[in-house]
């Protein structure tokens, strides 16, 4: 499991704090979180409901701006970027995978994967080629022409992951990516994510399932918005 890529910091959160809501509904979702994810790493984020896991993911991808602190992706801070520029960062650097309903139902697998590239202005043929590469990498190259409702849950998750890493994207942000899958399928998906990380990507996986978190090199536990503990995998 050695990586041929130099280790690059793909995500850096420094003193990241996030406060949501106003008045009575005001809540500190994240308090002073420091986290770095470098290429090749699979980092799991665990914690109870309301601990701030999803907020961490939102902040990492620029979906929610920080209240204080900095978030940096591939060396470039996310602060102050307009919605358009944030979207561009997401197109080029960050991939999202959710527990379910990841795909646009009216596009085929290949079109789904190629979508961010096409939005970025890449020629259709090039984008499609990159999509095929990604699908093959995730061992579902033969599903390129299928629509999401013609695939199983595990296949759909793989397509979502493929979309997450298509092109030059290396930071994968996943929220319970295997939550809707059975044990064996879940394991296969995690294996693929693991191998992607081995090839130079990095993954930040939010989960409440310890067996899923166990796939990570580092398990970060959140509690009430703060980092409660970090468990490194013994090498």
């Amino acid at each position: 499991m050695t990586s041929s890529h130099a280790h690059v910091s793909l995500l850096e959160l420094q003193n990241a704090s996030l406060t949501l809501g106003e008045g009575v509904a005001r809540v500190d979702a994240l308090i002073d979180v420091n986290l770095t994810v470098t290429s090749g790493e699979l980092v799991a984020v665990t914690g109870r409901s309301g601990s701030g896991k999803s907020s961490l993911l939102n902040v990492a991808g620029g979906l929610t701006p920080l209240s204080s602190g900095t978030a940096t992706v591939e060396g470039e801070p996310l602060a102050g970027l307009k919605a358009r520029d944030l979207a561009a960062r997401r197109r080029r650097s960050i991939g999202y995978v959710f527990q379910d309903l990841n795909l646009l139902p009216t596009l085929t697998a290949a079109e789904n994967v190629a979508f961010p590239l096409e939005l970025d202005g890449v020629k259709v043929a090039e984008a499609r080629a990159a999509a095929d590469v990604a699908l093959t990498r995730l061992e579902i190259g033969d599903l390129a022409g299928r629509f999401p409702d013609e695939m199983s849950g595990g296949q759909r998750q793989r397509v979502a992951i493929a979309r997450g890493v298509v092109g030059e994207r290396r930071l994968l942000l996943a929220d319970e990516p295997t939550g809707a899958l059975d044990e064996v399928t879940a394991e296969n998906v995690m294996k693929l994510i693991r191998s992607l990380c081995d090839d130079g990507a990095a993954a930040l996986v939010v989960t409440h399932d310890p067996s899923l978190a166990a796939w990570a090199d580092r398990v970060v536990r959140l509690r009430d918005g703060r980092i409660d503990s970090i468990t490194e995998a013994s090498t």
Partner: protein
């Protein structure tokens, strides 16, 4: 007791030598349950005493005797396989004991204790998961064993999460 039944089940398959039985046993359990050869022989002797198996009268040139299962032995094996085993009990688990005692006797240190325990358990889980990932596809027994280990350890982690949650809730309720 279970070892005896397991050895008998192996004998049921075909007669074997003591050392063969040890090797078969370990293979079938995915190397997750190492056996002492002495334990094997003593178990076999108990079986012979209980008329569940018999050994060859004459040893071979290396002093090893071939064991064969008896009719009563087969019955015992059948009964063992068909009777569902009792589920694992949680009460006597040293891990749980420690946690429960800590909650009872040193409530102010429970947080740290749980955290440390979880870290350790989690590391274990990570190691197990890594091991599982590297198992060859054909090695079913090993896979099964590792799955079980992972699940058990995972259960510990989950229980620790629950402990933490319940303590918090209890604290809020009584404060």
């Amino acid at each position: 007791m279970s070892v005896r039944d397991a050895l008998l089940a192996l004998l049921d398959r075909r007669p074997a030598y003591g050392y063969e039985l040890k090797a078969d046993f370990e293979a079938a359990t995915g190397d997750g349950w190492p056996l002492n050869i002495g334990q094997v022989y003593s178990t076999l002797q108990r079986c012979e005493r209980d008329d569940l198996a018999t050994a060859q009268d004459e040893a071979d040139d290396q002093g090893r005797r071939l064991w064969t299962i008896s009719a009563e032995g087969r019955e015992a094996v059948a009964e063992w396989l068909e009777t569902p085993a009792a589920p694992v009990e949680a009460t006597r688990d040293p891990f749980s004991l420690k946690v429960l005692m800590a909650i009872e006797t040193s409530p102010d240190r429970v947080d740290d204790l749980i955290r440390d325990q979880r870290n350790a358990t989690m590391s274990e889980l990570q190691a197990l998961t890594r091991e599982k990932a590297s198992v060859a596809d054909g090695d079913l027994a090993r896979q099964l064993h590792l799955d079980r280990s992972v699940l058990l350890v995972e259960a510990q982690v989950r229980w620790l999460d629950m402990v933490e949650a319940r303590i918090d809730a209890h604290g809020k309720a009584t404060s």
